[in-house]
Symmetry: C2
DNA sequence: ACAGGCATGTAAATAGTTACATGATTCG
DNA sequence: CGAATCATGTAACTATTTACATGCCTGT
């Protein structure tokens, strides 16, 4: 049976220690969400599927009266996870409405086009800040890969914000030819 | 009525001159696809919706016996497009299976983790090449924005490939501490 | 008492891909 | 003639988001 990358996010999240769906969501939001997001609407049904497939196992772990199920990875699950990790990645997608608008910005005035770039810059520098705020937590862990990815995310957002800034000033420079040629 | 960004891609693509669904697909594949893709399954139904909404107008333009419909933007369509361009972008999404695998690479041997980075690097440098191959065409046009976005895409892929390379060597360096600290 | 966080889940809608069917035209 | 490309479309599926419903627990 073919699992989606989202299924492997979940599998990966429970592979270190058992977690509830709620915890998985919180973990995703604080780590993988900038390159792979997941909502409750995916997580809970997916956990059931994974349990049916024998890749995770649910156990009741209530907090007082509040019922709670934590899922642990099984041996089959670990094998499936490692097997997936060894296959070359296939999905690389981006949906960036800012770049899309910039692409069609010929229909706008120059200052309005620059405004798109400013929005994009704000977005990416904001995201960079958020990721930087997470860094100390990642630094404590012994696993170096989440930290590597996090730092990649920080660098990426900085690079992107810088590009936006450069393009913005290029656009607004008083000495403006149509093409640098 | 609220249109999806994909609807605006189509609107934007017919805004310069009338195009068939087939041509729109080809255009998207040669320009916006790296930050906003669209398939026939979206394009044809969306063209109908846009026509119903009065934002584009279809006209028969057969090639010999082969029927063909080209869609032109209407005044209402142009107004809608410009109006959308002036709103701040909202959608910034990424789905990168490579980063995801790297995130969980603690379950692999070091060389296997490096292999993920090599895959990613190949992917991004390949994409960069493809975009560079398109550049001459974009350079001919008078509209500077598609060129700006294209060059952004080239830079982005180069940056990403470079990051992968750096991380790969960091991982394989013989003088390896667990954390640089 | 009330807010906020913990916790689970689902229904409905939207988005998007893939695969297929059909047929014309063009070029070698 | 056969392959590639032009051209349109849809059905089925997969993926994903959003919004909602429900209720417990903790801290102020």
């Amino acid at each position: 049976m073919e699992l989606s990358p989202t299924a492997y996010v979940i599998l990966g999240m429970v592979s270190r220690e058992p977690r509830s769906g709620y915890e998985i969501k919180a973990l995703v939001d604080n780590s993988t969400r900038f390159f792979w997001a997941a909502s409750y609407g995916q997580i809970y049904p997916e956990l059931k599927k994974l349990a049916d497939a024998g890749l995770v196992e649910g156990a009741d772990a209530p907090t007082g009266e509040r019922k709670r199920t934590v899922y642990a990875i099984t041996e089959a699950g670990e094998a499936a996870l490692v097997d997936w990790l060894r296959q070359p990645p296939r999905t690389y997608e981006m949906r960036d409405e800012g770049l899309l608008k910039l692409f069609f910005a010929g229909a706008l005035r120059r200052e309005e086009a620059a405004e798109i770039l400013r929005s994009m810059r704000d977005h990416h520098s904001g995201l960079g800040e958020k990721l930087r705020a997470i860094e100390p937590k990642a630094l404590e862990k012994e696993d170096p890969y989440p930290l590597m990815v996090l730092r990649g995310g920080i660098e990426f957002n900085q690079w992107f914000a810088g590009w936006c800034e450069r393009m913005e000033s290029q656009l607004l420079e008083p000495a403006h030819e149509k093409r640098s040629s």
